[in-house]
Symmetry: D2
Subunit: 497 residues, 4 copies
């Protein structure tokens, strides 16, 4: 059976005391075994990373940039292979895998512009003949811990910028989808990255804790669920590290009476069901302002949802694929049931989905639409992370805004309207980090930064984009005066002013 290893110091390391099964959600078959690290291996990989960083930090930024320019081309040239690796372990259809990969590549491109981004601030004459400037220096060893839902993209949100800033990086990917990153590691080596600067270690909580507790790790980037994000954030702080930890979401779209409804429906279907709804930016709640809009929305959604096809990741005709595991499938089904029990109206039920015999052990659940959901229902309160769109009916935009602001999450949201004032009111009042106006998945492009508000993110700086530079570097401020011959200054006891 195929063994998937760690990646340490430029080599694949397949050792491990434990091996974990990695299955294919589309078929339910176990295809590989993943080597799981122990504390000793964590210690070793940190050691490797720390040593490699010493030289890497001295490599001029422009030369680091070259490696990422080459990496970009290599990833583009191997995108089919990568989509296959993503699809097999995650279940997402290849067109969707390509979508995330392209977003990941955009982060590589941004890292290739590091010389511009790393510029410090120079002030001539902070005082007479005294100059002062800032250098944004790498931290040392930084760690990334990433979730299953974007096997390629989320790690690429982190390490290109971290490494371009002069750090070495240790990735702890999701144990469900390890292969895409292992393949990318090889491409990065081929692009010219010195061994030891980028490393992958597979493992469970023991490994995570070992990384969080080690003094040589300076910073942690995390993406996952809110409880784990909170744990990672606390633990990182307890050990004196900086940390950015992104958690869960519950993203609402408000549909206004003046919205372009056909467009809104198209967008909602893609944003609610794409990638089986397993996205932290998935739109899982539509808030219809007024019953007229709600009724029309339900009617159009129901009609459109008939054309959705669900199945094996390799068939591009499919709209979306399996969810990540049998347990997750059952959890989603339980949420649908609870909504019905608590009084919501199940308009389209995805639980009875039929798939071809070859896929019948896969973890499938069809697109589901639930109307008359209220904020008190369990299904509303949870992050379902499945292909389930819930419709909440409200009487006014204010009510919709209050609903969203009262939610514990604040990742993404969207407003469908034609009205300039409604849009400005919404973007001003809403307590959410990423806001779309007629854009259902307002994921910022790579040259902006990604981050939610409230329980969706812990830490001061967002992930990727401009914020990444500041997160992955520390400021050093140098103040300089040169003594001129013969000139002596008097003693100053006072604080310099």
């Amino acid at each position: 059976m195929n063994i998937i290893g760690h990646y340490i110091n430029g080599r694949v390391v397949e050792t491990g005391e434990n091996f974990l099964d990695v299955d294919c959600p589309s078929t339910g078959e176990i295809e590989s075994k993943l080597a799981m690290a122990d504390k000793a291996l964590v210690y070793e990989v940190i050691n490797v990373a720390q040593k490699a960083q010493e030289d890497w930090r001295k490599t001029p930024p422009a030369k680091r940039a070259q490696i990422f320019a080459r990496f970009k081309t290599l990833v583009e040239n191997n995108s089919e292979k990568l989509c296959e690796l993503i699809g097999k372990e995650h279940g997402k259809i290849s067109h969707d895998a390509m979508g995330e990969l392209i977003r990941g590549i955009e982060n590589i491109e941004y890292a290739a512009g590091i010389p511009e981004l790393l510029k410090g601030e120079f002030t001539k004459d902070v005082g007479g003949k005294i100059d002062s400037w800032s250098q944004f220096e790498p931290l040392g060893v930084v760690v990334g811990i990433t979730p299953f839902n974007f096997p390629a993209m989320v790690p690429l949100w982190m390490y290109p910028m971290a490494i371009a800033c002069g750090n070495s990086f240790i990735l702890k990917p999701s144990e469900r989808v390890p292969s895409a990153q292992l393949f990318l590691a090889g491409l990065l080596q081929k692009a010219g990255l010195p061994d030891g600067v980028f490393n992958i270690i597979n493992g469970d909580k023991e490994v995570v804790d070992a990384l969080l507790q080690d003094d040589r790790v300076e910073a942690v980037s995390f993406v996952g669920s809110t409880p784990i994000a909170q744990y990672v954030y606390q633990e990182a702080a307890r050990y004196g590290k900086r940390c950015q930890a992104l958690g869960g979401a519950k993203n609402h779209a408000i549909v206004m009476p003046d919205a372009d409804l056909d467009n809104a429906v198209d967008q909602l279907i893609g944003a609610a069901f794409g990638s089986s709804g397993e996205r932290c930016m998935a739109l899982s709640v539509a808030v219809a302002v007024g019953d007229d809009v709600a009724d029309a929305l339900i009617a159009k959604l129901t009609e459109q949802m008939k054309s959705i096809k669900v199945g094996h990741y390799s068939d591009k005709a499919n709209s979306f694929g399996a969810v990540i595991s049998q347990e997750h499938k059952e959890r989603i089904e339980a949420h649908i049931s609870s909504a019905v029990e608590q009084g919501a109206r199940l308009v389209v039920d995805g639980r009875d989905i039929q798939v071809p015999p070859s896929c019948e052990n896969g973890y499938y659940i069809g697109a589901t639409l639930i109307d008359n959901v209220t904020a008190e229902m369990t299904s509303y309160q949870a992050e379902i992370f499945g292909p389930v769109l819930q419709v909440v009916r409200v009487d006014s935009m204010e009510e919709a805004v209050t609903l969203i602001n009262d939610n514990m999450y604040g990742n993404g949201t969207c407003l469908f309207t034609r009205d300039g004032e409604a849009a400005r009111y919404f973007s001003d009042e809403i307590k959410v980090g990423m806001v779309g106006i007629n854009i259902p998945l307002p994921v910022p492009v790579a040259y902006h930064s990604f981050g939610g508000w409230k329980q969706s993110r812990f830490g001061d700086l967002c992930i990727y984009g401009p914020d990444a530079v500041r997160f992955y570097t520390d400021r050093k401020t140098i103040t300089q005066r040169w003594p001129s011959s013969g000139v002596r200054e008097g003693i100053k006891y006072s604080f310099p002013s």
Copy 2:
């Protein structure tokens, strides 16, 4: 007896279950009593701050800036009064109080430029006819906890920028030096700040904990000792907040054989003994490269130190004043003794200082010089925070750099040389956040940012300057597309690329 109160919602509140004595270090006399808050009052002040912020965040940045422009002028016009309040409670001589005040004013000036600093990033056409931009929005209620050594300046590092960014602010000042800030609160009100946006609450660990644990507090800025900084950083994270926590220091100056020695001696004396050495940027260790330099340095220092005068804060002829308390005085004396016991050479002993009868109950200790100190000595390892300059002798610049890099602190450091290559090597290799080349106290100006490395600072962003904007705001990214009439887009299941 004079009662010093809290400042809540624009009024001085003198209630409190406990009252703490506030003394004058120059004379040892108790001059006032400080009202100490309980949890209920903390709850109330947070409530006040939260309510005030709702309107304040909607005040255009340019109008907020006007308040700080007026505040600057008011502080300048009241600087004598403020220096008196600082001197009485802290003990520092008025010229030194003026020094810190001017530095504080510079932070007010920087806050008056907030419209420029708050600009977000706008991208036309992140995709066809889709625009995206960032808004840096205030967090809500933020807290500052500050130490005794800079009664005016350190709080001014925090709240002008926090408030200019649209937040409301709660200051928990050092209980030893509360009066300067209470006076400044009045000036800020006079400058036009709405009540409730800036508040002061006095208290002990119970108050600090109540602030750290309250969900309505979004961010904490702290300056103090490293163990407390660490505690605050951890606790803030445990309650999901962002935090920047600045801790202790041990600042070294390397004196190279080619240094302008007379200048270096002048600078060292000011930087080691000014404000009785009670500065986190004080230079407490001189590292002499070679015995020739060391001998000359000791000789010149000894000679110069003869002219140092120590005494009452109000006498401008004094070089520096009392230390903050009797306990602190004894702690410093114990460090001096331990150095001698462990083999160092006490060149100038400040323990036997004579002061006028009116000051004989003050907490005085004279300028002290110790030679032949080594890294193993207790006095080297501790942050003495007193007027004690220790000289370490090394054989090479590399040895000096290693000594500094091995130190747990990384706040400030300085190199005395004429050589360009030595300076560049130093600023590149040194693991310290604020570096001076022939500048003994390399405190960044207000338009750069302040922050050490290693155990001297916890968190990703530095205090004041450009970093303050990012610390006191959260990024909101808006992505916008307007539907054109008649145009409908197809359903997209893939992640947008």
Copy 3:
């Protein structure tokens, strides 16, 4: 009679071969005589400015900033006096004078933030151990030539930033409104500006040419009419200088069928008639999309215009005052007549305005509204610069956009709508530099920059705001490597890569 002089080297200089009458447009009375410079005086003032700049450039930016912070306060404290000086020589009502003054003060505030704005870019390791950074250094002597319509504001667009950047400045103000700037010069001196850094010289084309032709003048900022702007731009280039020359305007507002019409009418009346229409950002053409809108607009405008009052500058009850001169009054009247002759419909005629006897020699013209204007009419093609609002009727938004884009000017424009898509289409397609959405006078705030497109501005950089820093400084890039002892590098014949 009152003599108004030049301001050279910190002193008012009243010499001159010629003296020009300066009158009060509100009454037609001649109140002062203005000393006019000859070439020799121009030569002298440049000499003074050049000498003063040598020290001024070495003054740290933070110290320069202090002067502008004080200047701001002084101007605020003297605003009544300044409005009187502006009103008397220009004719604008005191509330309008206050409006321009406040805008001018905002430019002073921006200049007080110069330390942040002057920061250069620092790159560590452009190559191994090679650093590179930029310093934005002052140019030397720069010149500003300003028009009559904003006696205080337009010069304040220029010299605060020019001087804060380290230059010395020579202002050649409009000979019709010299007093406000002369008064401001005194305040600037009081604020601490060294003599010779700011100077004023009065004169005609001979003086302008002498300034443009002198090699010691490095840059020219100009605001005036397009033909003169073009001349100044060419001449400056001919003598190797950099130049930004702002010219005339013809600003259109499109009124869409979905506009908030009452609001649009309110805004239009202020923007068309305020300051007698003598603003380069005045809205002089309303383009109504569809006859329904046009008819309603005309009806509401006609009604509202009844409450407009015209008269003496000192009466705050007046809406606007006299135009700048008798000749100008006659020119405006001729434009009104020609519109009628060429087929337009004169809805409200301001030519027959009645004023009190004390003002009957003033240069008054009332608010005028003309309907059915077409692009072929002389009155449409000219920049009337008077209180005349012309309405053009079109059938579609595209037609309106084409009309605006075909106009030779591209200063400001505005769209009245509620629709997000219309606004985005407009701001994208329109070939105009300053665009308002439901904002009739889209003058950028001081921390953005001002500049039109097409024949409304010559040069690459806009006036005031961020662009001002780059216009008033030159980039110096320093690349530095320090030789280490003993290391020698090989000869390189190739271009370094």
Copy 4:
């Protein structure tokens, strides 16, 4: 015979009334004929460019960036071919051609980061509920006119950034070295650039004038000699365009007594003789401070110069190759003779150089060293643009600085020293745009900007790097307020404040 054409709308156009011989300086043989355009063809190419720009400007910046990322890879993959084309027409040795090509590629890389660079400034709440932001929009058609000495690099300083900003571009390359750019045009097309966005037109002054006078051309970038730069700058202004025109240079290196002399000599030889001295950044004057330094310098230079080899461009063992033409060779020789006649000492004479028979019709001149040159000599005053290093002896650094500051040019300069204070004094006092400290050719890297001072550059913005964005775009500022239902604002006659 090989015909070299224009490149218009994606096709090579070989028409022309005149054809110009293009020779190979290494052999003196005519190898091709260049089609020369007339006014009609200029008119056509502008037309093509203008049409193509309409769509190009709407292409999202991120998509434009992709083209430059691909272009970079294509240029890298074709670098050998390009070096051959450069060498044949210019004469420079292939390692030197590779040097300029790599510098050119760095500008392509910078253009690939355009999404970050094009970000505008967004301000929420310039006033209550009013937002304002800037969009940096392309100008339309821009023109580049480039010299013979860097056939690949100098055009690449211009068009990648101009095109990435959304403009279309017309290149008028030097008629001596047209082939490299024609080849690059093909690669750019292959990279995906739409036809018509990049065009090349060959021609003489008639073509240049036609480009300068056409209203549809919005901006001109020029690099060449100072008189032509001045002409282009004036003419561009006369026709209302923006222009940056880079002219000649006379670059001095000061050699201080404390310099690392061996290193300085190595650097000087490369910087003085590389590319036959035909670089605007060539170091043509060494200013020795003190006779001791001068004597040692001359001795070491003389010794080192013995190993210099001159010959055919294809032989990598050569240090440098032929100069551009027979006339230019004779001009250089005349300068050498005049120096001798005017009293200088000819230490090494390059005029009698021997080359192999196959090269004997080439335009060769050997490395030449002249001592005791003074500022009065013709050879000092001219920009020789050949492999001639002149040594001026001075007594002090001040004298050296004055010599440089008095020179009409201010392109580049360099100081050789070990002393921090000397370096800071030099970089502060020197009136030169690009300064090297122990760096002989201080050409800024692609992410900084290139530009001299004084007669070396006309215009406000430098070429390439950050300044390029501002030069190739115009600022559009949008101010937006959305009307809320029911709320009406009063009429405002005053200028908004």
